[in-house]
Structure formats: structure tokens, C-alpha cells
Amino acid sequence: MKDWEPRIVGFLCNWCTYGAADLAGISRMQYPPNVKAIRIPCTGRMSPKFILAAFMKGADGVWVSGCHPGDCHYLEGNYYARRKFALFKNLIEYMGIEPGRLHFSWISSAESTKFASTVKEVTSAVKALGPRKHGIKKAFTVNS
């Protein structure tokens, strides 16, 4: 278990955080490789099903990141998303998922430093919690 590395699914908005990830790469910033990025058109496109599916299929953590409020490419997608996320996070924690497993952030396409530091922060938070104990569907359990 000493070498255990968390697997984190990152849902990144095409218009900002995904760009920030690009910029961080171009700038050769160092950050942990644990986040598997999935590009979404907007945080407003996030469905609760995505997060639940990630958890059900064995993700140790989930991270959703989009544009700062007011900067949405579609003007207000992230405002709606913010309300959905608030209720979602509260409910999933109420049902027994550790608070440190689900993260949200606003990162603009220029904030590559914030991107790198958030990846570090999310990874260490999930790492501290260790592997998931329950809630992974049997078919997706890996014996490694």
C-alpha cells in the first residue's frame, strides 16, 4: 500500500481550466500525474451522473473545475452549476463519502499556477484519505 497512488477524475471546462492545463504544460510546470482530465464544454454541462459514475467505477477522487463566476463562455452556465454542485456535495457527504474526495474550483485559462497548485492540493487531499473502502461496484474492483 506504500506505493498507492490515487486515481482522480478531473472534469475540466474547455474554455478555462482545460486551457490552464495546456498552459501549465507549455510552461513545464511540475504537478502530480494523478488527475485524468476529461474535457467538458462547460461546468453547466456537468450531470450528477458523471460524478456518481466515476465514483462507482472506482475513482478515488473527483474534481470539477470551470470558469470564474461572471466569466462563463455561455454567460451563466457556471452560476447554475454552482447551485447544483452545492446541493450535490452536501448530499453525497451526507450519504457517507468523505468530504476530501470531491473538489470544485474556478480556474481561468491564464491561471496555470493555480492549476498546478490545485492539482497538488486535490491529489494530496485524496491521498491522505487512502483508497476507497466502499461504493465501488464489484465488476470494477481491481485487485492491485
Binding site: 450528477p48 456535495k89 450519504m95
Partner: protein
């Protein structure tokens, strides 16, 4: 309760006779005790079937979805709030409806009563304060307040919020009710205990989807549990699938649930499924000051936003 029934019959007969509505949706006596069933009355002669007592817990708003005709509908407090939600969500038009409001004194919990007796119950009668349960060899009088549905005990909207006719005088609303005591108790638990609590809560679930079908909010053309490409929720009895189903069912009701208790009432296994929806209800109230179904002019919380919504959980 007989005066309620008489008044409901009178109003329904009048509306049908004057052809103001094509049908009235109400309750008639069921074939087993404590199970009134919904009925659609289409002629003035048939209004004699209608009844009102403490077994009318089914939410009639469920029968309004996508209807096009003129409808008279019997509505207690929670039904009326769900009718408002239906109108807001364009599932029915206000002009189509003649709402016969019934100030509600609470519905009784048939599971609770059944579990009190070993023998079969043949008849259940009631007066203002008491429920009289009769079997082949026994007869017992219960205090109605002791056997109310959990959601009725903590109800703070007993009077209909919109109505065109009233079947009785408005009641005083219950005051100083702590609606979220049980939710707070779970919130205070450690993460591991929360997980265990819901594991135990959901372990009897047989995935019959009765909670979904009884709910007036559940009207998606294809429910997420029936989607197969991609399949978000497995159909097995794997506890993870069951938990995901209950999570999403509740989450779909976020900001819309009126705590009518239809889901819990419908559950054949007696699972307290309201424990999920109540948490969302509490959060909507605390974060956005929202109670569902009280006004036709306000948008539901997930259909609107404020620039300064709470976001301390976001980095």
C-alpha cells in the same frame, strides 16, 4: 370527516353538472382497509364514489402530468404545492384546473398500524381524534396523532396554497415545528457511520421503483434507471446501484420536493426514503431560502441563480 366527503361530493357534482370540468380526480374507497384509491369521476352520478378520510395519502398531482382536458382536482396542502410545481414546469396549465382545496388534518400510516396487530385488519373507522381498528377477534381504538404519517406530523402547510373552491374551513398551521431533527442527527455522524446508516436503510430495497412511480415529480419520458446507452445505474441489486438510484432519485427532486410522503407511503419494504429528499429540502431552504410549490411567480432554485450564491466549498 363525513362533512368533508359531503362537501367534496357537492362541489364535484356541481362542477360536472355545469360542465366546468370534464372530470374530477379524487379518492374512492379501496378494496383493502386504509388504502383509498385515486378515481376519475366523469359524470355527476358517479360522485357518490368519492370519499375523504385519513387514508388519502396518495398525491393526486401525479395524475395531472401532460393532461389536456379541464380537470377538477381534490388537493390537500401538499397536493396543491405539487400542482403549483407542475404548473411552473409546464406540465399542466392553471386555466385547465379547478382546484378543490381540502385543509388536511394529516394522513395515517398504514404500515405503522398494520405492524401493531398480529391478526388481519378487516375494517378501519375514524372520528375526529380516534382511529378504530377492527379485526375478526379484536377491536382497538388508537389516537390518530400517534399513527400519523411521519411527514404529516411535521407538516407546516396543511392548507392548500392555491384553490378555487374549499371543502372546509382553513385550519391553523402547526407552529414551532422542528422539521429537520432527523437530518441533523445524520449530519452530525462520522463519515463511516453515515455510510453504515444508509447501507442499513437501503438494505431491504428491492428496486421496485414504487417510490419513483408514486412521486408527482417523476415524469421524465425516459427515467435514468431505464437508460442503457450509456447505462448510468445498473439494474442489479448491487448495493452500489441501489444507493446510486436513491441518490439520483432524490437529487432529481432537489428544490421541487414538497415532502408529501407519497414515496415513503408507496414503499412496500417500509424504507424511509424521505431521508434523502429531506436533506435537499433543508439545504434549499438554508442556502437559497426556498420552499417548493408556494408561489407561481418564483422560479425553482436550480432554474435560477444569484451572483452572490454561497461558494465557500469552491477553491
Amino acid at each position: 370527516m363525513s362533512d368533508y366527503t359531503a362537501k367534496i361530493k357537492e362541489i364535484s357534482a356541481r362542477l360536472l353538472k355545469e360542465e366546468k370540468v370534464e372530470m374530477v380526480i379524487g379518492f374512492r374507497k379501496g378494496t383493502v382497509p386504509m388504502m383509498n384509491e385515486p378515481c376519475f369521476v366523469k359524470t355527476p352520478e358517479d360522485v357518490k364514489e368519492l370519499v375523504w378520510d385519513s387514508n388519502c395519502g396518495i398525491n393526486l398531482a401525479n395524475y395531472l402530468t401532460d393532461r389536456k382536458e379541464k380537470i377538477g382536482i381534490i388537493a390537500k396542502g401538499c397536493d396543491s404545492r405539487n400542482i403549483v410545481t407542475h404548473i411552473i414546469e409546464n406540465k399542466v396549465k392553471r386555466e385547465q384546473l379547478l382546484i378543490i382545496g381540502v385543509p388536511c388534518k394529516g394522513m395515517i400510516d398504514k404500515n405503522k398500524i398494520t405492524s401493531m396487530f398480529e391478526n388481519e385488519i378487516n375494517e378501519v373507522l375514524e372520528d375526529e381524534e380516534n382511529i378504530i381498528v377492527k379485526g375478526k377477534v379484536f377491536e382497538k381504538t388508537l389516537n390518530k396523532n400517534d399513527v400519523l404519517q411521519e411527514n404529516c406530523k411535521i407538516c407546516i402547510h396543511r392548507n392548500p396554497v392555491i384553490s378555487d373552491e374549499l371543502a372546509a374551513d382553513l385550519l391553523d398551521e402547526q407552529k414551532d415545528i422542528d422539521r429537520y431533527e432527523d437530518v441533523r442527527k445524520i449530519e452530525a455522524m462520522a463519515t463511516e457511520d453515515k455510510w453504515k446508516y444508509f447501507e442499513d436503510l437501503l438494505s431491504p430495497c428491492i428496486r421496485c421503483y414504487a417510490c419513483r412511480n408514486a412521486c408527482p415529480l417523476c415524469y421524465c419520458p425516459t427515467c435514468f434507471v431505464d437508460e442503457s446507452r450509456p447505462q448510468w445505474v445498473g439494474k442489479s441489486l448491487d448495493p452500489t446501484d441501489t444507493r446510486t438510484f436513491h441518490f439520483l432519485r432524490a437529487y432529481h427532486c432537489a428544490g421541487r420536493c414538497t415532502d408529501c410522503g407519497a414515496c415513503e407511503r408507496a414503499c412496500p419494504m417500509g424504507i424511509k426514503v424521505r431521508m434523502f429528499t429531506k436533506k435537499l429540502e433543508k439545504d434549499c431552504l438554508e442556502l437559497y431560502g426556498w420552499e417548493a410549490g408556494l408561489s407561481l411567480d418564483e422560479r425553482p432554485p436550480l432554474d435560477t441563480y444569484r451572483p452572490n450564491d454561497p461558494e465557500d466549498f469552491i477553491k
